[in-house]
Symmetry: C2
Subunit: 418 residues, 2 copies
Amino acid sequence: MSVRDDVLQIARQAKQAARFLAAAGAVRKNQALEAMAEAVQSQEAAILAANEQDVAAARRAGKNTAFLDRLALTPERIAAMGHGLRAVAQLPDPVGEVVRMGPRPNGLIIGKMRVPLGVIGIIYESRPDVTGDCAGLCLKSGNAVILRGGSEALRSNQAIFQALNAALARSGFPPGCIALVPTAEREAVGVLLSLNDYIDLIIPRGGEALIRTVTEESKIPVIKHYKGICHTYVDDAADLAMAEEIAFNAKVQRPATCNAMECLLVHAAVAEAFLPRAIARLRNAGVEIRGCARTQAIVPGVQAAGEQDYATEYLDLILSVRVVRDMDEACAHIERFGTRHSEAIVTENLARGMRFLKEVDAACVYVNASTRFTDGNQFGLGAEMGISTDKLHARGPMGLEELTTYKYIILGNGQVRA
Amino acid sequence: MSVRDDVLQIARQAKQAARFLAAAGAVRKNQALEAMAEAVQSQEAAILAANEQDVAAARRAGKNTAFLDRLALTPERIAAMGHGLRAVAQLPDPVGEVVRMGPRPNGLIIGKMRVPLGVIGIIYESRPDVTGDCAGLCLKSGNAVILRGGSEALRSNQAIFQALNAALARSGFPPGCIALVPTAEREAVGVLLSLNDYIDLIIPRGGEALIRTVTEESKIPVIKHYKGICHTYVDDAADLAMAEEIAFNAKVQRPATCNAMECLLVHAAVAEAFLPRAIARLRNAGVEIRGCARTQAIVPGVQAAGEQDYATEYLDLILSVRVVRDMDEACAHIERFGTRHSEAIVTENLARGMRFLKEVDAACVYVNASTRFTDGNQFGLGAEMGISTDKLHARGPMGLEELTTYKYIILGNGQVRA
């Protein structure tokens, strides 16, 4: 069979399975999630063996340490996948929830019922632990899922998929609820993105290049995540000790993540009091500082920050710092350079906190906390399918509810339109 | 200036205006809507004069009666536009609503705040009364709007736009809140669809060909409406008198609309009792019946319905009728031929009503009522920007809430991530 036929067959089966999943109740789905968690752990040896082959091949291909670290599975990571599946089983089932239900003057009762999207395609890079998370969230939200992981992780993903799929079959679920594209051929992605009659949503996870390619090529709606250039604005009414803790955490705790701070904005009135201590502490942690002229005047030895710095997602221990005249200038900077991901203000002034919440256009807007909290788990969603920097359908961390849509339900007793 | 420059300038100004609108409160927006309503009525003579020119040109170009009827404005239609704007002013403001707000174990308080989408582009055909409705809904939901009506209505739209825009200026709103593409050039649509840095959403309204072109060409997310092949299923537990009223209304009351019934499905056990009377009544109203073999056996003189009939949106006084073995067969027929728009069951059996609501995949699912109610006004949304047959972001009639997105707001007192 051709790659096209392979992918088409998977998509057809997924669409069939989606009808079953949409009608499956929470008890049944939770039992399946438990069985999936057990299967991943009982198949640990097979999964690790497959993963070893992937890692060896990637090492031979000259992949760097960071890549190999994302690719490698350990007994701990496999246990975490099992915990993740059990955690999803504990979450409330979003399917069937009815909201905004009420009577109309003619006696019709109208409301919105939450229902699964149908079939979700996920295109991700070589992190095999994502396989378990995505399969669990899609199953619980009643969606069939088609997984397309990075080609370097194909053996690992196949081993995980076999464990999950066997557990589903034992739980009485039809084939197709979880599908894995069985080839590393790039052509398969193109085929997947063309199947808008079978797939309802595509979620690409990975680098900017992957996401741009998917978005441009797809005939299916895409929810995506581009860059995270996140700011922390230290207002003149900030508690400066708190601001220092928050800025330090947002930059240093895990700098390679999309919710880490890339630029610190400081009100001119507190710059001299705040910057010397804060920058000394950041430098102690290995952070390179690039600052505006005001920052350079206050703290010796700071390299100049250019426009290019403000527009860069460093994902590294580098921070640009800019002293701003006032909150207007801070908001204008965020409007210009921010990527609508996560933005924070540190202030004890209520009006300014409220204004920041209202006016700053981003998926997540913080008052007095570190932007590092932008994460499905931290937000109480249990897990996440990714973080959306889009505005349509879902914004920010995407959990179970974001994988659903609604339908209007209308109850009558014979109403006709006049 | 080139068409591209023209459209780009409008889009830039709209993006600027969107920031103002996002922060404008309900009182201010409602005053503007009142002023817009007044302006449309005080400018009635100018609008009618411009419309007369459009109608004359369309008549010379040989457009048919239905086209001319949609294009023509009357004092009544202008008054209705004014009423529509005032009705939107009366609706609650969706912007700023906060939902699902609550504490996390670390003391962070997290919720979702409803915010405008930003800039919305609407591409529609030659119905100038749509201009007022869309402008009103976008303004109330805090969005800037770029209107691109059919080229045959350009003079009418310009006159309406001038009235609306002057009212906004008098109310202290900046230019760009409502924009009209000032040219009938087709090139302008292509430019509009390429401006994904300025426009957040495109809504095409019109025939299937227009919608397909827009969807294929757009780099901006599109919410759209394709066909409405709506079914009414008369269950064996139906109140047959009620079923007759509902079927008659769904077919006859306004057959050219997308929510009119195109196919009647009847349980075999009640077909003989139900069909002769129901079909006689429909025929009396001028409806042509095309039926399956069972229907033909029960009612003399019925033309045979083929697969092609079941797949056709007649938008006319034609109805296909099929006798089904049971509810499973009815649901399978809807799954195969339905367009996920509006589907109805008539039954007195609670379990079957519940099953239909749960299992039928459509934007609007009815028990014991006519599908003709699928409409923003009828659903209590005040007005509608259109009806979505998509699954993402909005489904069914789109009102104010559907023109918004959300952002997460996170209130802390110094939380950092461990």
